[in-house]
Amino acid sequence: MKYDILISGVGGQGTVLASRILALSSIEAGFFARTAETIGMSQRGGSVVSHVRIGSENSSSVIPLSGADLLIGFELCEAARCIQRLSPDGKCIVNKQVIKPVTVSLGNSNYDTDGITEFIKKNCKCPVFIDGYSLAEQAGSVKAVNIVLLGAAAGLGFLPFDRSVLEKVIASNVPQKYVELNMKAFELGYREGIMQKTVAAC
């Protein structure tokens, strides 16, 4: 089975850990996995993208354009920026959170929230919008937004492995003192995913 997941967001949102957890879960479930990350200068609050390729023995680490089966956008505009890499039938989860770049605060560019939301709706079949920031806050820290979104992906049934596999990998890949917080974040995301699934029916 081949399954390509793209994660896009803003440097500092925990995209690298999220992609690592997805890849480790794939290996745990018996698949061959690859990832490609943005690390270094480009990471400091800039746009970041992680590629997770499952069943990728004979592929490169980068998902081709229109190739991703699932896009998890950690931030509204970063989700939109990456839609061209999503396959026409691909699934899409978007964290509604808006992080305005300094260029916008300075008035040098414009962040058109409604326009970007419309763009996402127009260019992918059935996007699921999630308020990841609030759910993470509810779990105890807004920094757990990455785990909330993984929970949502699992709840929506968009991942090729069981939630138990994910939970096991999360527990062994976050610092001991944050395991409980992350498990709560995962649970909240998962429940939100299940709820959205019945509402969105996709």
């Binding site: 490169s60 939109a80 305005k100 916008v104």
Partner: protein, 597 residues
């Protein structure tokens, strides 16, 4: 043990498996994690150090290899420029223990000032180079590189690119690693002392070795020819993985030459590949190394084959290659270009740009802003250097007028000063960069009495590459505590007469010190001491009160990524704020306060 390993981690484990004894390097994206992973997984018998710079690292690793130990030196492509002096003579001297020079290239570039190709450095220095196409191949290659180095008694290059270094793959690791036997030790011998007469003899020897190396590489498992037909594709590095991925989607008849050792080109195998072909497309990132070698080989063998690549404009010289770029070139070459329906058409949309910025709470923001206010109304040029603080060039700070290479901020300022004596010249340099190549520039300014001001941005770590220790921190990568090298005393010992420390989070005081330093006649140094946000947890966060008149001076002046506007209101994102108080110091209405965390 089945593991998910980043290319750099795979290389590190491959080195441990190969029995490496001494590992040195200087941090540089995308190479940094190789050395860190070895340090973290050290079975106990490996000596690992962050050296002061790449030249030092190369020489320490060479010394270990003289004594018969296997050594590894790691750096990024521009680091090799710094280490090129020892490199070029080391080729003549050679080694006893296997020595691998790991140089990570950065097509794109993502985090570098050049897109130089280390495979050309290999050719220039007459050293063999391995060019991995995946993390798992890099894991195998480093073992082969150590073996080859010991066999031919020359250092060997391993040259991954960013996509290999920072991609993860599924790799089976052994449960434990064997401890290598003790090195033979250094044997005194005239071969270790380079003299003109020896250099001449060694030059002949090294040139002759090139043919032998090419022959050895023709039977290397990393070089392969598969398929058949009148058209052939030669590919090296990560570009090979794109070619392979595309070919797996078509049933095109094509002969494929996978080049794992671009220099010296495995000529025998390359001739087998070229024989019977009408046309060849060469796919490789950066310089046309394989392309030129194939052109040479076909010319000297009078082969009637057309070779396409960068030199014929079939593929670009600059930038990182992508699957799409390679696919388009291969489709055109094979004539398999079918119109593909992309399924959905995207209308161009104006997404706001999101370039990397200085973090919220970064001490450099305060340093730059203090210097900016101090120099308001004066004609001044701000020379920058390599590190996080290069990001100070972005608006609204706009405080980096030049950036060339490590250490050049201090020296370029001196040249500018001699050309324009009436202008103020202020050079910025980070703490790790100061130790790397900053000191000779300071000595030069003192010796030649050049009136510049040097601002050392001391944030207590090598931040940009992921917070490595350096001589000023008094900690080593082995976890031991050593003497902290004090920048103030060092500058004083260099003969600088005006040296002051300043706190970048106290804007008024900092600006006053800068004005004093600039007024001082002769070279002056100001050391801004403020920790990188990675080194502490915030004790308070700032928030905007009702006094705010929405004048937005805070946003306009300091450009903090934690600050944004919601409608007309200014807001501070609590999860990003480090309570540095700059916004509050800038606010004319006392409308930003801090609350303890």
């Amino acid at each position: 043990m089945r593991k998910l390993l980043m290319g750099n981690e795979a290389i590190a484990f491959g080195a441990i498996k190969s029995g490496v004894r001494v590992v040195t390097g200087y941090p540089g994206t995308p190479s940094t994690e190789v050395l860190e992973t070895i340090a973290k997984n050290n079975p106990g018998h490996i000596y690992v150090e962050w050296s002061v710079n790449e030249k030092v690292a190369m020489e320490v690793a060479a010394g270990a290899a003289y004594a018969g130990a296997r050594s590894l030196v790691t750096m990024k492509q521009v680091g090799l420029n710094v280490a090129s002096d020892p490199l070029m003579s080391l080729v003549y001297i050679g080694v006893k223990g296997g020595m691998v020079i790991l140089v990570a290239d950065d097509p794109g570039p993502f985090s570098s000032q050049t897109e130089q190709d280390t495979r050309h450095f290999a050719e220039f220095s007459n050293l063999p180079v391995f060019d991995p196409s995946s993390p798992e191949e890099a894991y195998q290659m480093i073992e082969a590189a150590f073996e080859l180095s010991e066999k031919v008694q020359l250092p060997v290059f391993l040259r991954p690119t960013t996509r290999i270094c920072h991609s993860c793959s599924t790799i089976d690791l052994p449960d434990s690693f064997e401890k290598p036997g003790n090195p033979e030790g250094f044997q005194k011998d005239p071969r270790w002392v380079i003299f003109p007469a020896l250099a001449y003899k060694k030059h002949i020897h090294v040139e002759q070795l090139q043919t032998k190396l090419s022959e050895m590489f023709s039977s290397s498992p990393f070089n392969q020819v598969v398929g058949s037909g009148k058209k052939g594709i030669a590919a090296s590095g990560v570009a090979y993985s794109y070619v392979k991925e595309y070919l797996s989607m078509t049933d095109a008849r094509v002969k494929l030459f996978k080049v794992g050792t671009p220099y010296p080109l495995p000529s025998k195998l390359a001739l087998e590949f070229l024989n019977g072909l009408d046309e060849v497309l060469v796919v490789e990132e950066l310089d046309p190394v394989v392309e030129e070698s194939l052109l040479q080989l076909s010319a000297s063998n009078l082969l009637n084959v057309r070779i396409y690549g960068k030199k014929t404009n079939h593929l670009p010289f600059a930038g990182e290659y992508s699957f799409e770029l390679v696919k388009d070139a291969v489709q055109k070459f094979l004539g398999t270009g079918i119109h593909e329906d992309m399924g959905h058409k995207l209308t161009p949309s104006d997404f706001p740009a999101r370039p990397p910025v200085l973090c919220a709470g970064c001490p450099h923001r305060g340093s730059f802003y203090a210097v900016k206010t101090a120099m308001k109304g004066q004609k001044a040029v701000f020379t920058g250097d390599i590190g996080c603080y290069t990001l100070g060039n972005a608006k609204p700070l706009d405080m980096v007028d030049t950036c060339l290479c490590m250490g050049a901020g201090i020296t370029v300022a001196q040249g500018l000063k001699h050309a324009e004596p009436d202008v103020r010249h202020i050079a910025f340099i980070g703490d790790s960069t100061f130790f790397h190549t900053g000191i000779p520039g300071i000595i030069n300014a003192v010796y030649n009495n050049t009136d510049i001001t040097v601002v050392v941005l001391d944030n207590g770590t090598t931040a940009m590459t992921g917070h490595q220790p350096h001589p000023g921190t008094g900690k080593t990568i082995m976890g031991s505590i050593s003497e902290k090298i004090d920048i103030f005393s060092l500058v004083k010992a260099c003969g600088v007469k005006f040296i002051k420390k300043a706190n970048p989070f106290n804007l008024k005081e900092s600006a006053r010190i800068i004005r004093e330093a600039v007024e001082f006649n002769g070279p002056s140094v100001v050391i801004f001491e403020g920790p990188c946000i990675s080194l502490y947890k915030p004790s308070r966060i700032m928030s905007v009160t009702d006094n705010c008149t929405s004048c937005k001076k805070c946003i306009r002046e300091i450009g903090c990524p934690a600050m944004y506007t919601e409608g007309k209101k200014v807001r501070i994102e609590p999860s990003l704020c480090y309570g540095c108080t700059l916004c509050s110091q800038v606010c004319p209405f006392d409308a930003i306060g801090g609350a303890d965390q």
